[in-house]
């Protein structure tokens, strides 16, 4: 798909009519470092309908990753509520939140975060260890996920034997293997060259358009953001549809 075609799909508001998947309301996030208190997010509201591909941009320290962590149940807000798929996740216990993440969220990291001692297939199988699937079924699903990301020829390769792009594709396969409703990508192309980055973006876009995955992607890269259906800018804890001056 061409970049022009990508850009033409961009909107600044959520698509009307789609079912709401993520509802963030009045969220404050305060970090305390020693005697210093840092307000990262203040009174933030964000609604993301199901099937959206949202790009979150903003300068370093603006709170993009913090917001992503709150939506993904990796962190809790100091104030406000985070509801995903109708579930108030900020009220869940650590134990229930871990289970919720395993069922509903796929995570893609900037530096892939693969286990170096496991093969690509075993890495992709990891989230399935938290399910009731048999070993045979886990293996089958992991192979299918790797096939979707175009790595069926690299099943038994270890991360050190894969290129950066291949490692990130393995990371994406791990994120989608449980068929989650929400994919959270933190700078997924930040560690890749342009060609590999484009391949990853193609893949994410396909997962959004063909499989209806809801994706939130944090990025510094305008070219990556252009692939999303909506881009929001975060600065000083506030969201806007345009970069702030």
């Amino acid at each position: 798909m061409s970049e022009t075609a990508m850009a033409s799909t961009q909107t600044t508001e959520p698509r009307p009519g789609n079912e709401l998947l993520v509802d963030v309301r009045g969220v404050d996030k305060v970090f305390t470092r020693g005697s210093e208190t840092v307000h990262v997010l203040g009174g933030l509201d964000l609604q993301i309908p199901k099937g959206e591909f949202l790009a979150l941009m903003g300068p370093s320290g603006s709170g993009k990753s913090t917001l992503l962590n709150l939506v993904g149940g990796l962190d809790r807000p100091t104030e406000g509520s985070v509801t995903v798929g109708g579930q108030r996740i900020d009220k869940l216990s650590d134990r229930k939140l871990a289970g919720w993440r395993a069922r509903h969220v796929g995570l893609v990291f900037q530096f892939y975060n693969l286990m170096p001692v496991l093969s690509a297939r075993k890495n992709v199988e990891l989230p399935l260890l938290l399910t009731k699937l048999s070993g045979k079924e886990r293996r089958k699903r992991a192979e299918l996920a790797l096939e979707i990301v175009g790595l069926s020829h690299r099943l038994n390769h270890y991360p050190r034997q894969l290129s950066g792009g291949e490692q990130q594709r393995t990371g994406i396969a791990r994120a989608i293997v449980t068929d989650p409703t929400l994919l959270l990508c933190d700078e997924p192309t930040g560690d890749l060259d342009r060609k590999s980055g484009d391949e990853i973006l193609d893949l994410l876009q396909a997962l959004n358009t063909e499989q209806g995955k809801t994706i939130i992607m944090v990025t510094h890269d305008q070219r990556a953001a252009d692939r999303a259906t909506r881009t929001l800018h975060l600065d000083k804890g506030r969201l806007s549809s345009e970069p702030q001056a």
């Binding site: 990753s65 913090t66 962590n69 993904g72 990796l74 962190d75 650590d94 134990r95 871990a98 289970g99 919720w100 993440r101 395993a102 069922r103 995570l107 990291f109 530096f111 975060n113 286990m115 170096p116 001692v117 496991l118 990891l126 989230p127 260890l129 938290l130 399910t131 009731k132 791990r174």
Partner: protein, 396 residues
Amino acid sequence: MFRIINQVFQVTRFSLASLPQRKGSSLSAMVGIAGVVVVMVGVLSIAQGIMATMKSSAGEANVIVMRSGADTEMTSGLGGDEARLVTEAPGIARQDGQPVASRELFVIINLPMRSTGTDANVPVRGVEPQAALVREGFRLVDGRMFTAGLNEVIVGVGARQEFSGAETGSTLAVGSEQWPVVGVFEAGGGLSESEVWVDAPVLQDAFRRGNSFQSVHATLERPEAFQDFKDALTSDPRMNVKVQTEAEYYEGQSRLIYQLVTGLGTLIALIMGLGAIFGALNTMYTAVASRTREIATLRALGFRSGPVIASVLSESLLLALLGGIIGAALAWLAFDGFRAATLNFSSFSSMTFAFEVNTPLLVQGIVFALFIGFFGGLFPAIRAARTPVAHALREL
């Protein structure tokens, strides 16, 4: 439940698989723990060796009779007639019409240690010919038995090893005289092997003891005869004696030194163990720090704290187990059977013994290593499980 076990197993599996990436710190923790086990097993094997020596000194049906109120042969005294009456008491085994009993006296002389050249107290025991029958396992391994009435001596194998001049063909300075050594004997690994034996009347004369003895060692017809034997002696108005089985006597003799060595060994092991715990803590904190990315990723994917704690603990326990096994093996190779001498506090004379590294001691050493590994891994494991996931991911 099965899923949790499977999670624990899988997380532990790749935690252990990543051990080679941390081989430096892992090896240092392992060596530290091995060192603790070597010292602990080594010191405790002294106590085990002393206990084994004392136990093997006691024949199953053997008894010792001393003056009433005496705790050791050193503080005992029996007149010649009194000692003769003891040997004639009912229940004592007989061989060729003679009671298997030996009236004995006990003195201490000084001999230089082979290892240091310094003088040590050496027990010299005056015995009757039946003494060789009373001591189980008595056997001459060199030379011949002393001749009754002559100032000849035989020495135990332990004494020969520890003291200069205690070998067949040489002489021992006893008072102003030189007594020839005519033989060397074994006595089943017992305390007698630390002693020098001489004919009882010769020792009585040399040390002006008249016709007095300090103890009677005897073998009963059967162990069950002990109570009748004891009753017969203690109810006889002509005698004022204390009757014990040799097992009771030697247990009492070894209690003090056993407790002292065991207490000292345990104290040393605990102090070193504390150091090793800090070593293991350091290693495991380093391991957890170097695995921050892995652990945070697993928890982000939905793995709970349990498997994470289990994986860190299992790594620590594995290192401790390997360290423990290495330490136990080294201790066994270095110490088992090693002969040494120490002061027998009951007789204030030297006793020789062999360090005994037995299976319970090896198990004890390995269990102690696991204890170090558990506490060395517990706090890093809790830290790994408690660090907020988002915070841990930011630290990458």
